[in-house]
Amino acid sequence: MQSQLLLQLIINGLIIGTLYGVVGMCFVLIYKASQVVNFAQGEFLLIGAWVCWWLLTAWNIPFFWGFLIAVVFMMAFGMAVQMVILRPLIGEPIISVIMVTIGMSIFFQALMKWMFGTFAQPFPPIFPVDKVNVLGLQVQTAYLMSTGVSLAIMAGFAWFFKYSKMGLAMRATAFSQQVAQSLGISVRQVFALSWGISAAVSAVAGVVVGMVNGVSSALSYFGIKVFPAVILGGLDSIFGAVVGGLIVGLLENLGQYVDSQYLKWGNLYEIIPFYVLIIILMIKPYGLFGTRDIERV
Amino acid sequence: MSTTSVVPQAVADVRALLSVENISLRFGGLKALTDVSFHVGRGELFSIIGPNGAGKTSMLNCISGRYTPSDGRVVFDGADVTRLKPNRRAAIGIGRTFQNLALFSHMSVLDNIMVGRHHLLKNNLFSGALYWFGGAQKEELEHRRKVEEVIDFLDIQHVRKATAGTLSYGLRKRVELARAVALEPKLILLDEPMAGMNLEEKEDMARYIVDLNEEWGMTIIMIEHDMGVVMDISHRVMVLDFGKKLVEGEPAAVLADPHVRKAYLGEEDPLLEDEPTPAALSA
């Protein structure tokens, strides 16, 4: 019974972990291109989820198409945000840009509440069965779908940064916008692209979480939840984000196990990622896979 | 590799201010330094030259504590400092400048130089915050006086209050030197102090270095690519190549060495180094 519980927790941890990993990748993408930590990532999830929900409930569009439109919309939305809000800030201090993302988060949070109300709204049933048995654990179909989609997205990202010229350009831009420009890289394009992709992928995560928990503005909290994951893996490593996501997913579940069986703290699951985070950072100051800063004089 | 000591080691090891003994430094597979030894006597002006990537900067880094050699020792002023933290080394009298400018770019020139006096100042968090009451003000003013001497010496009065980051390259180099001098070091390490300067500025810089050495009595280790300068002002020269010591000795003798001429100067007459041959140009 106990080992069964442990096994189920591990499976659940891995499934949720991939979801964290995907959201983590969105962070990393923007970070890699602009060194900006996007505090509005959670709102991207939220907007994506609302848009998809709206398409499905108000227009009765089939899920697949609704989902697709929402993702494409978010791609355009991410680019638009970049063009309208972030473009004037190219070349300005990074910390100011980070603060702007905080402003965006406040703005969109309120806008979403205005447009869609303050109550949580359920997605219409999408899958014929709402749960699937995985090694004894009942898993929501939406989560399974997300795991599949996440794996595909992860592979895509890996390819992008390894082989495409645009991936290289993004890294150059992150290193120094001035240098990137001197090489003929359009910093604007790079940013637009990274924000677009990031927003689109966030939308995928938003829809999944929305399908499971209902869409509500509280969903945006997911944005902050993946911070430890991203840092554990290394801020600039796509692979690291995935690993970090899995680790956090597992830690939460195992934390809950240890807590319920032995420790009886109550909320170990919530804070254990942070304890582990500090320990790992003390050993590896750039996370598991982050590139160290080059310290030369 | 034979280390040709052109002049017999005039300075006995005991009297040497700095002894570098069999230092090796590795970065992964790359051997940046291999078994390098040399001594610098008190009051000496010692130059290190060598091709790009030979390990000159790495050597300075070993002396100033930025790198810890994988083998060998660094003995400074009679004490083994091989594993001493960089900030402690500053306190015992090793100052330096950097190849790629490393000023505190948002601070004023004055403050940059005052940081150099960090280890000489006593005021702390509390007395600093109380300023007028804890004696901090008095101390700051005293040291300000000292700093002004350095500023006068290096002729940077006019940019005292300027933000270091907005200065032109040459001035920044001078401010860096001022910062290192403010440390009141026994040994000062200069990494390419003349790079990026025109002739006139080089002349000024050479003047400062010679004065530091002769009038302020500081021992100096200098890395420099301008052979004219190296030749004229240094007492002894060491050549590094591929992390190994090639030769060491008096400037004229070192530059006459065939190895050096080949590996470093490209077989040209060192005195005419900045006269390009038509052959080189049309190659």
Binding site: Q2, L5, T118, P122, Q138, Q140, N213, S216, A218, S260 | -
Partner: protein, 404 residues
């Protein structure tokens, strides 16, 4: 002549899902009072302040009200701000009607028993305290266990975030559960935000609990209910007043089916109490069509505002509408229902020594019988979601149980 009051509401912050209907209820009621003669001819001038559930902003609003507007009463909202303002409200002698039902606000003198922490002489709320509501559910669970004729000791577990609001009734509820012969398990913690709570559900399942109290607000409770349904947990869930309502039922869908929770009013919007006529009239203030379904929090807000209004009326007749007089007005009647709200507001009594308005708690069961993707109004109309009254638990009004 006008009476100035302040109104603090959360439409945009962390509790906006329940803050919105509650705040709307208050706004509509004030508008209705003013449209219908005011307080003996004096209109109530309410300064609406949306504070996004942020204490500093609540503080600023309060200072403005006492400094500039000279308000005589305040309609407040959350626990954090209410608690932060207790001292100031007492000092300024301004009755403060909030939506935080923390039992610590029910002791006007302070230290009625050793568990009661501090005096809150100017704090009022309408409805059972969080602690009493939880005690009532313990009571109901004990009866339920007996009625079902199950053998052995039932197991009780408190679930919720480790935060002031979910924790508020924890001690009371667990003490009472022990008293009634429950085995009290280690509490299970889950955050106040939606997320994946499968691990909590698996723990819950493994612990073999029979009754689980959900202390959080709706958003995260929904996540737990859904996760537990998927994990196949067989537990009777009991919700906090703010943890379940019609909107949450819709969002949780069938996972919410069967959850028992307290309702502060004697009826829901779908009922047929005579007082609902007034309530509908009030509702028209912001919804002229009169078709919108109003959740339980809306009705609660109406009652709260109307008690204040009647206390003002008494004050007006007895020396003027001042903070102190309004407070005294609250003490004038016993088992009192505001005029026109018969069958909606539960008879309540406030005394100078006891600010527990009632210790009688109505428990309802959430019944969800199908997919919930229509609007709440429709879902209620079609009967897909229903609130079924399961019991009224009358707790003894003991001083030992006051203030914690």
């Amino acid at each position: 002549q006008t009476i100035n009051i302040g109104h603090l509401a959360d439409y945009s912050g962390g509790t906006s899902d329940v803050g919105q209907p509650y705040g709307q209820g208050t706004q509509d009621t004030i508008a209705f009072i003013d449209a219908n003669g005011g307080v003996d001819g004096k209109t109530i001038n309410s300064d609406f302040n949306e504070y996004g559930y942020q204490v500093p902003r609540a503080l600023a609003a309060f200072k403005k009200w006492v400094g500039t507007d000279k308000v005589v009463a305040i309609q407040g909202w959350g626990t954090a701000d209410t608690e932060a303002l207790v001292g100031m409200v007492t000092k300024e002698q301004i009755p403060y009607f909030s939506a935080s039902y923390s039992a610590s606000l029910t002791d006007p003198k302070g230290k009625v028993n050793e568990k009661s922490e501090r005096a809150a002489p100017f704090n009022f709320f309408y409805g059972p305290s969080y602690s009493d509501a939880a005690r009532a559910m313990v009571q109901w669970a004990a009866d339920d266990w007996k009625a079902k004729g199950k053998p052995g000791k039932p197991k009780w577990v408190h679930m919720g975030a480790n935060h002031p609001y979910p924790n508020s009734p924890k001690a009371a509820e667990e003490a009472y559960a022990k008293e009634l012969g429950f085995e009290v398990l280690d509490p299970i913690t889950f955050a106040l935000t939606p997320g994946d709570y499968t691990p909590q559900c698996l723990t819950l399942k493994q612990s073999g609990a029979n009754y689980a109290y959900l202390g959080n607000t709706a958003g995260s409770n929904i996540s737990v209910l859904k996760a537990c349904k998927t994990a196949g947990v067989d537990v009777q869930f009991l919700g906090n007043v703010w943890g379940m309502d019609e909107n949450a039922m819709k969002a949780a869908g069938e996972a919410a089916n069967g959850v028992v929770f307290p309702v502060r009013t004697a009826t829901t919007w779908a009922g047929d109490a005579p007082g609902l006529a007034t309530a509908r009239a009030i509702s028209k203030m912001s919804d002229p069509s009169g078709t919108t379904y109003r959740p339980v929090h809306y009705l609660t807000a109406i009652c709260t505002a109307l008690y204040m209004k009647e206390a003002m009326e008494w004050a007006d007749k007895n020396g003027g509408v001042t903070g102190v007089k309004i407070r005294d007005g609250m003490y004038q009647k016993k088992d009192w229902v505001p005029k026109g709200m018969e069958g909606v507001c539960k008879p309540s009594t406030w005394t100078a020594t006891d600010h527990r308005p009632t210790t009688s708690v109505d428990l309802y069961r959430a019944v969800v019988t199908g997919p919930t993707d229509a609007s709440v109004t429709e879902l209620i109309k079609t009967g897909t979601i229903k609130l079924e009254k399961v019991a009224t638990v009358d707790l003894p009004r003991k001083t030992e149980l006051q203030g914690w």
